[in-house]
Symmetry: D2
Subunit: 366 residues, 4 copies
């Protein structure tokens, strides 16, 4: 209820702070019998890890995950899986006068107002570092979904500040530090980021995330619609300010005759729906896009106030991502996987395995 | 878990189908002592009601609400409040061959795949009619929030298909059938809708919704962020395909030096955050926008398939909204109210009333 | 969260007060495709109904149930099922000075302290009348469980005040007003009750409830153990003060060599466990017993205080059950059914249908 | 949903297995500002710790707790508190042929049937070792409740097998290994246990647990009654087979004129209710008793079957508690504290702090 748990049947409880001894999560509800070791999780963590290029924070964290429970002789037992990641590179003194003042656009202020006190070390609980356990939990969900339903997740950056990033192919995403789905714009993106860093400023980004091989029938009809839960999951990622499904905001100017995806014996003729109709998956690819705001930890000075309400200048030093969007792709994939995983379990609770396994309408899984 | 309940502490369980005997909801967790009668709820239902102008469905429903429980001598008792709305104008035969085929862009298909059967009368459970109980529950939350915290909710249409709607003032919203915040474009909007109806087509829309007088400190830090829950609530409204908070997708091209809202002794200097930092309310106005797709029930024929997977033409007759966005404003307001209400109760569970009541930083509630 | 919902996946939300316009419940999560009509539910309600013998309250309620949603053409659709029971025989004036004073042993006092106000008509929300919707919801669960797993529920009274009731056979239970499993003691029980009524007093009782044909593997290992959830469900019934599973309090004096139920190729050799080991069902019969206190609404005067804390005499008139235990058997059966139903859905969410369907160890289902 | 989380607002998620690397829990929802360190938790763990007398298991675990998150500069921050206890003394080979056979009365069988596989090391997840994190979480709740409401928890053994233990005074409980509230019977209890150990057998016990200084108004009226949640919490403790509140099973033979606790200007005249009326606390002491079965890990041989359903003899060696009831007192106290803590937060969510803080009816808090 205090918001550290995600999901209802595949429930992930996240704990830790940026500069505490450790961060991690407990997964409760994982089906038994899944082959699982740290080697299944570590690669996803490595994709999100800081310090992998000059365009992200230089904090040097190995983000080594350890499974503390729930696995016996290489298989999940059905009992809770605790994943632990120790914090090794905390430099608490980097934070200037943040104890007394509030970064504009940062959770410094709202945490302090909510709780009456806060852990200022590296943003404490509000740090994007807490997405690491999400990525770890997502890796478990991804493995199970891949093995049981052939569901896969992928994402890419589609815009970096003013630079729209053309889509050339998913195969490019893993060969550049931006998760860009092309090769032609990498130099442009690097130049943009280098200048930004010199300016001491930060920038927004736009990320696309997809699921393929999605079982039909996932999602609840009224409130826990699959798209509503995707919006919840993605908007919950640090710095996200907008979420679109399928045609998204583009649907505002569409007519019904254009928007509705025609059904044909060979499958859907288009995917304006983004894979969801009436909150329930159709078997088409799930498609979502998110807007990520520029980080608030910048060197450019900005007016603020201190805890007594007096004017103050914020000094942000230390190691920060000039574009938090760059590392957001694996996080968004993980959150989408957690949503799908939870809904698969929810679906089979009420409807059994029947619907998930039945042959779709011929060709309908486009 | 089957998705008919919204909220955790102010929990609203919705039931009914478009053409069943009745629709309604049960509110569990309403604080005791709130003066409440049908007269507090009916006006909000009337704003959402069908048949109020020629631009919405001509179904003639009085949407008369009845309180069945939870109120004694005009005050809520703390026990569940059941709100019942009887369906009076069901014309089940209007639905052509919908039993055998699927409207492109409609939940017909996904419901059938999820459950193996469906109630086709008027869209059954997937009908926008089920937003009426949400509006009714929202009215209860709005009254409590207004009385206890001065929180108010308002919304307007900001775009109807290709027509951007200029904001002139909130006072205009209630004097035209579109919830437009101006007087100068009403004729243009009416002409657009009249032509659309003649075309037998439908169109998308964009709605803005706000809360003012929001207590500081609402929202949970990690997963149940206030903005994540707003995204969940708004994306869960029928036909919504996109949600933005504050600067929304506009933040993609913003630099950090521009995006972060400066804090001054007189309050925040801007509201790119939309009232939320780190998932927690700052006391500024909550601001969200949503994209609503064109309805799938149109006269323009579109290719589809029948339940055997064979090609089929869809015939949609009957009474439909050519722009479901027109009636979406009171619904979005209600859902935002339910989110805020739930988070007020959650906040005081963990933190007590202290934070909510303490004097804000001088001027900080801009 | 305010406690009007039972279950997580087969979730029953109960509403209403004893003398309000109606009582009822919403079942969310019922699997689709179950044949269901009022005729499946009414017989269970009739078993619990007041006014069926001179030994229970003479309130004359038909308890006619109406299905308002979730069923289409005789089958559940997977959407919420609203069951409504109108109150027809409310005599609010029967309640003497209860508005100002508190019946010893009654919820009058605690409700008033919790909420600061209360609905005194017939006990309001604390009335045993609210068990009617539980019985109705239980009937739905019972039908699904019987059809899908052959699970059945039964119960009987095993003690009425000082009178221990010998068990002769389940077939007797439905042929006397006490749910006694014999024929030889009915006259004794009637005589006891007649004298009690003349005394204007009330008495406790002990009820046994069982489930047969229980799938193996139900229950969560740590906190939502099947027996813990049974204890929660049964202790939650009005007036229950004790719950035992299997050997119950008798195990205090048992040695391990006696208590542990030996496993043999033909099945378990005994059932001290009451069908649950480590919180998980073994496939044996679930067996529980409950203690029900004497009702607090008696004619015998008792000292109390009024709302100002001043001494006062309580006058209870009106129609009351001198032994609420008499009508408790169908309620306890219903609650046990709701627990089993919920755990079947929970089990198949995590583990799929596999375990439930697999052939048990030869003979193990004793 | 998979049952590893306890509570709704003060939510404790438990993880780990008896012989895995570590056990622990995550507390989500703890109010901010509570002074907390390991020193507040360790003493409660030490009370439950194995190896403290010759009458309990000789496993030598220091049960050293470490706070991994949620505390900053000695105060809880409102974010999740992870408590970690490393397992140091695992002797996995002590377990004879348990991999292939099932101890009568043990969860070996039901786990294997539920999940299709199990961790047999020391009982895996079903081990009573998993109560250590419950005791640790309970210590946090106890500190907060003591500081904010003066609520305190205490318990004692009231029966050890055939030996009824007379109550002389709470001050004796901490001066003998049995949590007996007297000094006169300790020798008798020691002699009984020594003989039992020589027999290679085990025995049941009966435990009483109480809370004093309980706020009035805790508990939800219908399903999450305070006594129902206490029954759930206590029945969920390993080996518990029965739970009573107040008069418990004794109420079966009570008349209403005897059972109902008279209210006087000086407070309640008796406590048959055990502190709960209509599911809501009255401010009187909460009083519950539990029955604990004899452990199934005994040296006395007993018939069983192996995984193929063939007859087999169970050999249990290793270190076991001959009476698990001996260490159950601090566990029961902890679970009662977790229930009360959760309901305090739930109460103030719906009703605010008002009711909890208001002056009780003069003398009513007896």
């Amino acid at each position: 209820m205090a918001g550290s748990s995600f999901g209802s049947l595949f429930q992930v409880t996240n704990f830790g702070e940026s500069h505490g001894p450790a961060i991690g999560c407990v997964i409760d509800g994982c089906p038994p019998g899944l082959a699982l070791s740290e080697a299944d999780i570590q690669p996803e963590l490595d994709r999100r890890r800081p310090g992998t290029s000059r365009h992200v924070t230089q904090r040097n964290e190995p983000d080594q995950v350890r499974i503390l429970s729930g696995v016996y002789e290489g298989l999940t037992t059905g009992t809770p899986i605790c994943l632990l990641i120790e914090n090794t590179d905390q430099r608490s003194k980097d934070y200037g006068n943040l104890l007394d003042t509030f970064r504009p656009g940062h959770a410094d202020y709202s945490y302090w107002r909510k709780y009456g006190l806060r852990d200022p070390r590296g943003g404490g609980r509000s740090s994007a570092r807490l997405t690491a356990p999400m990525v770890a939990a997502g890796a478990v969900a991804r493995k199970w979904l891949r093995e049981h339903h052939g569901t896969q997740f992928r994402g890419c950056m589609t815009q970096l500040g003013p630079v729209a990033i053309a889509f050339e192919g998913w195969e490019h995403v893993h060969h550049n530090p931006f998760f860009a789905a092309n090769t032609s714009q990498i130099a442009e993106l690097e130049a943009y980021m280098d200048q930004l860093r010199r300016d001491g400023d930060s920038i927004g980004a736009r990320i696309r995330v997809e699921a393929t091989g999605v079982p039909v029938g996932l999602g609840e009809p009224l409130f826990d619609k699959l798209d509503a839960d995707i919006a919840y999951a993605l908007m919950g990622i640090n710095a996200v300010k907008g979420v679109e499904i399928g045609a998204g905001f583009g649907c505002v100017t569409q007519r019904g005759s254009e928007h509705g995806d025609a059904l044909t014996p060979e499958g859907f003729a288009s995917n304006n729906a983004g894979g969801v109709l009436g909150g329930i998956s159709t078997g088409q690819d799930l498609v979502a896009e998110i807007a990520i705001k520029p980080t608030s930890s910048i060197r450019v000075p900005k007016p603020s106030i201190d805890r007594a309400g007096q004017p103050n200048a914020v000094e942000t030093f230390g190691r920060h991502d000039p574009c938090v969007g760059i590392r957001a792709t694996p996080i968004a994939e993980a959150m989408l996987a957690l949503v799908v995983m939870d809904h698969v379990l929810r679906h089979r609770a009420q409807c059994g395995d029947v619907q998930l396994d039945q042959p779709p309408i011929p060709g309908a899984r486009a």
